[in-house]
């Protein structure tokens, strides 16, 4: 493979395009599985348990510490301008609008996305997926769809937990430790945060990230080379591609939602 031979360049461009097309087709297929997988909700429930419950601790603790740091840094900057009462508003808006959905998605990609990719990649390496196809069981419907919808359901819940824990963390540092007035801390938040514009758009963001991260993890696992190295590199790609897509998508979503 060399970049100056036209045939090689053409071959790799074709392969990239084919990968993209395959990914898009899988995504559309997964979208259409919504009703048939809701009929077997037990499968989704087990995946929510695996993806959600086991991620809860890392998400809650990270949220709390991000809130602590925000409380300290925000107070340091705001008290220069004599407006340390706005600390609550600063913490809440940054968490609800941006950090909650984005950091949750990044953590989710690392905590749950990798395990999805590795699981499916190893199923493929062990030829379990081929066996299912032999038995006329659709692996997309039986294996991918429950994980996909579980990820989509789990992400907004985790993001909400992250933001709520972050606000509590900001409150602990700001009000309990530094001594910002509790009344103005909450009233600034309540005056400045809009339910639909801020909280609602944050939830929409986290749903979009749920689709993105879960789908990328499943795709990388499903398309992995069925070898130990293949599974390893697929797991790495999951983290890299998912993180970059989340950050890129976040910019686009923010530009769409919060301008004007």
């Amino acid at each position: 493979m060399s970049w100056y031979k036209p045939t090689d360049v053409g071959f790799s461009a074709r392969r990239q395009l084919a990968d993209l097309g395959q990914g898009a087709r899988l995504f559309v297929r997964l979208l259409f599985t919504l009703f048939s997988s809701l009929k077997r909700f037990g499968l989704i429930r087990d995946q929510i348990h695996f993806l959600g419950n086991y991620s809860l601790a890392i998400i809650a603790v990270s949220g709390l510490f991000v809130g602590f740091v925000f409380g300290l840094q925000g107070y340091y900057t705001l008290q220069r301008y004599g407006s340390s009462e706005a600390l609550g508003l600063l913490v809440t808006l940054s968490l609800v609008r941006e950090l909650g959905p984005v950091v949750t998605a990044l953590l989710f990609a690392g905590r749950a996305g990798t395990s999805l990719t590795a699981e499916i990649g190893l199923m493929k390496a062990g030829e379990q997926i081929s066996v299912m196809e032999m038995m006329a069981v659709d692996p997309v419907l039986r294996i991918l769809a429950p994980r996909f919808w579980a990820g989509v359901i789990t992400m907004p819940l985790l993001a909400a937990v992250f933001s709520a824990m972050g606000i509590i963390g900001g409150w602990v540092v700001g009000v309990l430790m530094i001594g910002v007035d509790a009344g103005s801390f909450w009233s600034q938040i309540q005056g400045g945060v809009d339910v639909w514009k801020d909280v609602g758009n944050g939830v929409i963001k986290s749903v979009v990230f749920g689709f993105t991260v879960t789908f990328i993890a499943l795709l990388q696992g499903f398309e992995a080379q069925p070898t130990p190295e293949g599974v390893a590199s697929a797991t790495t790609r999951t983290v890299v591609v998912a993180s970059l897509s989340v950050l890129g998508l976040d910019f686009i979503l923010t530009a769409l939602m919060f301008t004007i």
Binding site: G42, I48, G52, P156, A160, V161, W186
Partner: protein
Amino acid sequence: MQRSKNDVWVGLFVLIGAVAILFLALQSANLLSLSFQKTYQVTAKFDNVGGLKPKAAVRSAGVVVGRVEKMVFDDKTFQARVTLALESRYAFPKDSTLKILTSGLLGEQYLGMEPGADDKVLTAGDTISSTQSALVLESLISQFLFSKAADGSADADKTKK
């Protein structure tokens, strides 16, 4: 559908997520304060609304009695026409005045309603005409500078004589 012990844990997880969303909605965004009170609409004309925003509070004696609904520019009078939604349980005299005030030094702007003495009360569709515009810092400074300059020239005239 068979029940497994996962059910309990998943239920707990979903419950925690729901509580978090509820916390965000109620505690931070104060969904409860969105009043479902019946309101009546009154318009007011301002020369300058400054930084007033839709949904800003209308306060009388410091208590929120309504919200700013929308603000449009009137190209007949070249004024801002502000529509207010006042809560129906409060009645105000027809000659009440409105002021644009600021809460705190850097706070949000809101409308202050000062009741008049008229026997008749404001009803839906009425217009409040006695209003006081927002303070615009630039015009305040330029007024100050002009008056200084006027003083200075007056002093100069005195010394000439």
